[in-house]
Amino acid sequence: MSDDDPIGAAVKLLARLPGVGEKSARRMAYSLLASGPQFAKALGDAVASLPERVRKCSVCGTYTGRETCNICSDPQRTDDILCVVARPWELDALERAGSFRGRYHVLHTLLDPLSGLGPEQFPLDPLLARVESAHTSEVIVATPPTVEGEATALFLAEALRPLGVKLSRIASGVPHGGDLEFVDPITLGRALEGRRGL
């Protein structure tokens, strides 16, 4: 079929990417044709080599080109604090913030029994092993403030509690420069619950 309709085949594949509908996929395909063979070739090579050139860090699980990622091999960072995130791009976001100097652990998933990811399938053991073997004194759970993210945080807290480390959850609340009036009631309620002393 793709011999007869190479554009349609490309559209079908592009539309499988997150956030790309059929309309956007079609525009991408025509844009690739219009921008000439060099660009399409470069894009194709970059995409094709991704799985070969990128792997998961053997320590924290984030994507890297090497055996261990830059963060895990950085001697300047402290092993005391471990920050648990669900996705590599959430690690990137925290790194961009620039204020965290500890280590990371990337789960690559959240507790989500409705999608077949129950407690048995959850990758808990690597995290427990890491916290036990490293000199971790505090674990920060930075999963997102969604139903799945909150459930994961509480599940992790119960699993980590016997190890005797300090446990914390990133705060959620009012964005910087935000106007209280326009903050949704759920966020505002949580910001009030999670208030701190002055």
């Binding site: 989500d112 129950g118 407690p119 909150e150 459930a151 599940f155 119960e158 699993a159 759920i186």
Partner: protein, 362 residues
Amino acid sequence: MTPALRVARLVVRGFRNLDAVSVEPDPRANLFVGANGQGKTSLLEAVDFVATLRSFRGATRSQLVGHGVAQAAARMVVEGGDLAHEFRLTFDRKTRDATMDGKRPERAVHYYGAAACVVFHPQDLDLVRGSPDLRRRLLDRVLVRVVDGYGEALRSYARALKARNALLRGATVDPRAVAAYDPMLARFGSAIVRARIGLTDELLPAARAAADDIALSGSEVSIAYRTKSPTDAGEYREALARAYDTDRARTLTTIGPHADDVVIKWSGRLARDVASQGQTRAIALALRLAELEVLERRSGRLPWLLLDDVSSELDRERTARLFARIAAMEAQLWVTTTDPAVSALLPDAKRFVVHAGTVNAQ
């Protein structure tokens, strides 16, 4: 006087048997006539579906997408209040996309609040006699429109509940994983229960007054919200923990707003047991009128009304009284009927003929 919300234009494609319908209703009264099975109820269902994103007939999206149609679509312009708003909706069996003024609404209350309508339909008998979810939905219809964050709380609650129940159904049950949902269920569940109790207390006097107006003794009617859930989030969480063994044995979460009901009584006894057919209809109608009044009071805008198949609903006297009550309100009316006597009660209405999935102004 409260500004009245009015549909200025409605375009529907591929919704049940409505292939391509375009209606410019009158700001006040609109009458849709035609034989049964031509699409009158589907038209009102389409209007209410754009406004609530749910079918008042309990239909799924698969049932609503017309035969041989890939995607259903609707556009509705609502005037009144401040600005006109344009609602656009496309959906198929799997996906749904709803926008207001070209954007996905940031908050549920903005969307639902700007499209507030009330439906009266023959299945409303089930409000009194049917299952509790219909009565809970009556409350939720109002609350998503007037309480900021309520729609979001309902959605998060439902998600957490589904996940918790899935864990309870598993072959092996991990209590830590089950309990991981308790704080969220407690936070959202207690907020939902508090809002519903407050609304039920507000609906009661409104329903009694409405009942009096349609020749039913209002003082005989009582409604009360029945729940096992504490309204305090901390106590709620403890209650969930206490119910764990029961939940595990029954493989589902036994307490929470999903298990609540609105108890409707007539003369001190359950209305579904003692009220006659006529009384049951009148009680259901009084509840809808109360829904309308509370929506108006809380939002500051008068909803428009969709009255489906009016003649079979009420006796002649109650129909006349209902129209007299509504006529005093300036609300926009959409009435479907097969009954010429009902048409006669609305002499100034704009008339439309509904035939084989088409709607044409007469």
